[in-house]
């Protein structure tokens, strides 16, 4: 996983609620393309017109925000389908940070698995940021200090869960960390077979 420390760049305002993962990446793109090929199709229902040409009215097609690494969004960003491809697609557009009042729960988890930082801030704060960033001047997202520095030289603190912050800063792999607890997992399983024998299907019981 790509570590995340500090990201600097324009913050594109996509200020609408309930941007779902179907809109972030269409399902056919996931069945036909690899995870590194999705960027050109991210947000295509919004970014492209029916004939496949870019819609100049869409914020990410406008010069200051093309390739912006930060996205400002409305509430419940990434709701809907669990598809992790939504995160891969945004990263394919070079987005590394999304700031919104709230996120779809599964999308939020998926972000941390891939080095994309989702930041929750109150809606008025996100709206104030959108106004301050409207010209496309760069914003700094500093995960070490957990602070945003905006073009008008103000700072906005944010919080990220400690475990997840550490994982992002180091690009840590959860599987390796969890397997350090494998003795505890196997002990729990042995005890559970006695506690809830009915929870263990025969095929699993037969295994050593």
């Amino acid at each position: 996983m790509t570590p995340f420390t500090t990201v600097v760049g324009p913050a594109a305002p996509l200020m609408r609620d309930n941007v779902d993962t179907d809109v972030i990446i269409r399902i056919e793109r996931l069945t036909s393309l690899g995870r590194n090929e999705l960027g050109p199709y991210a947000l295509e229902a919004l970014r492209l017109r029916a004939d496949g040409s870019e819609d100049p009215g869409f914020v990410l097609n406008q010069p200051p925000f093309r390739g912006a690494p930060i996205l400002l969004a409305g509430s419940n960003f990434g709701c809907g389908s669990s598809r992790e491809g939504a995160v891969w697609a945004l990263m394919g557009l070079d987005v590394r940070c999304v700031i919104a009042p709230s996120f779809g729960d599964i999308f939020f988890s998926n972000c941390f698995q891939n080095g994309l930082l989702p930041i929750r801030l109150p809606a008025p704060t996100v709206e104030r940021l959108a106004a301050a960033c409207a010209g496309g001047a760069p914003v700094t997202v500093d995960l070490q200090q957990c602070v945003l520095r905006t073009p008008d030289n103000s700072t906005v603190p944010f919080t990220v869960d400690a475990l997840r912050r550490e994982g992002l800063l180091k690009g840590l792999d959860d599987i390796g960390l969890t397997l350090q607890h494998d003795d505890a997992i196997r002990t729990w399983q042995r005890e559970d077979r006695i506690r809830r024998p009915w929870a263990w299907p025969a095929a699993a019981l037969e295994r050593p």
Partner: protein
């Protein structure tokens, strides 16, 4: 000590280790895999030199990217054929139970897993699909995950999770005759909004829930994620226990009795406190349909499409939704002409759903110009429906009777509503482009969908009874 909620009890029973800061290492009792993410998941395990921790706790079946065309095989939809082969081969070499096309057990994961007794009350269940919350309808701790988390489960049989807040939605009163769990779900989402459950596990409770059949509870919990919640729950009761008994993978005899004794304790204590509570009057729920591009855009079937100007800060979003849907403000939703009807999906493809649709279709004809599909949720549902003669009833009325899978809900298999055409669908998402680019989807119950097919427009099914 304060009482615990159903969710607390389910959560606590699966904590292998407290990781601090609200994090827990949770044991995963059942891992369901489907054709979209399954093959790549197995491939990643192999590429990283990892082994499956407990292959006997993982179950796989193709559903998303398989054709539902009668007589289909895996390669009928070639892209899906590749995903099918990867899932089948990955499952085989990992020692994972695989339910192949045409075999009893194949179907939409959230239909086949409880139907087979693979999912049971009290178990923790995950799948790379947001509608895994469906399984909460029988009192399982079931939630959707991403593909990285799925690989984590394959390798460790656990997940690192932060406990969500607890929310209860009490449904008082009784649903009126002809009003279903799907109508109740859409009504709740319309009332509370698509983000009301974000960060929460939602328990549905109250007399209207206790009165629901088990399959209806699965439908209700299926839509918990459209409320923003990763978990939906209904406490298991005697109805649940009777429903589970005798299913192929369910425990038998003394083991079943021990399980049932455990399941009877899975209720919220009277003195338990929720982080938030809502109350819904079920007697006020009418057949409900969506008018826009979020499940929260739901109205009673006899209501008018809202005027975006009345939606306050949501005016712009409402106007965009109306423009996409090709609808006029203040027009009655009933009478809107439809081109497509889709009866299926993990929301509404169980035998009870097909019976409800068949009751409307019986002896009638699909309106000319309407294409209407019935896609059973699993091979077992399909065979049971055929044994009752439902398939003939549908085909005689002009519906197509198809093979089990996700089909036109997710449109991952080339089965799409053409651009600009209007569909009444028993699925759970009316997002922009969900049923195909430019497709206009109205979510509804099986009875509403069947009635729309017959009338050629959105209509209250109670008018056809």
């Amino acid at each position: 000590m304060a009482g615990r909620t159903l969710f607390d009890k389910l959560w606590d029973a699966h904590v292998v280790r407290d990781l601090g800061d609200g994090w827990a290492l949770l044991h995963i009792d059942r891992h369901l895999m489907h054709d979209l993410g399954g093959g790549p998941g197995f491939a990643e395990i192999a590429a990283r030199g990892l082994e499956l921790h407990d292959p006997g706790l993982t179950f796989a079946t193709p559903d998303h990217a398989v054709s539902s065309q009668p007589g289909r095989v895996a390669t009928t939809f070639p892209l899906g054929g590749r995903l099918h082969a990867a899932l089948r081969d990955g499952a085989k070499s990992a020692g994972v139970q695989f339910f192949d096309l045409g075999a009893p057990g194949q179907g939409i994961v959230h239909v086949m897993a409880p139907e087979l007794g693979i999912v049971l009350p009290g178990l923790s269940v995950v799948c790379t699909d947001s509608h895994t919350c469906t399984n909460g309808g029988i009192g399982a701790l079931a939630f959707g995950i991403g593909s990285s988390e799925s690989v984590h489960v394959l390798a460790t049989q656990t997940l690192r999770q932060q406990k969500p807040r607890r929310m209860r939605i009490r449904c008082e009163g009784t649903l009126a005759s002809g009003v279903t769990a799907k109508d109740l779900a859409l009504h709740i989402i319309g009332r509370l909004g698509a983000a009301a459950g974000v960060g929460h596990a939602v328990e549905f409770a109250g007399p209207a829930i206790e009165a629901l059949e088990v399959e209806a509870r699965l439908t209700l919990c299926n839509l918990a994620v459209e409320l923003g919640a990763r978990f939906g729950l209904v406490a298991p009761d005697e109805r649940t226990i009777a429903w589970v008994a005798g299913r192929p993978w369910a425990p038998e005899g003394a083991a079943f009795e021990a399980a049932a004794a455990y399941w009877r304790k899975l209720t919220t204590d009277p003195d338990a406190v929720f982080d938030s509570e809502e109350t819904i009057d079920a007697s006020q729920v009418a057949p409900t349909v969506t008018w826009g591009t979020s499940p929260e855009h739901a109205i009673a079937i006899d209501a008018a499409v809202p005027d975006p100007a009345t939606l306050g800060p949501r005016a712009q979003e409402g106007a965009a939704a109306l423009a996409y849907m090709g609808l006029q403000p203040n027009a009655p939703i009933a009478g809107t002409p439809v081109d497509w009807v889709f009866i299926g999906s993990c929301a509404n493809s169980r035998l009870s759903d097909l019976r409800a649709a068949a009751q409307i279709a019986r002896g009638r004809k699909v309106a000319s110009g309407v294409k209407a599909w019935v896609v059973p949720g699993s091979e077992i549902v399909k065979r049971a429906a055929e044994a009752e003669g439902l398939h003939r009833l549908f085909t005689e009325a002009g519906f197509e009777w198809r093979e089990p899978g996700c089909s036109m809900c997710v449109a991952a298999n080339g089965e799409q509503v053409p651009p600009g055409q209007r569909s009444v669908s028993t699925s759970n998402r009316n997002f922009v482009g969900r049923q195909g680019p430019g497709a206009r989807t109205h979510l509804a119950s099986p009875a509403v969908a069947a009635a729309a097919a017959i009338a050629g427009c959105i209509i209250d099914p109670r008018a056809l009874r």
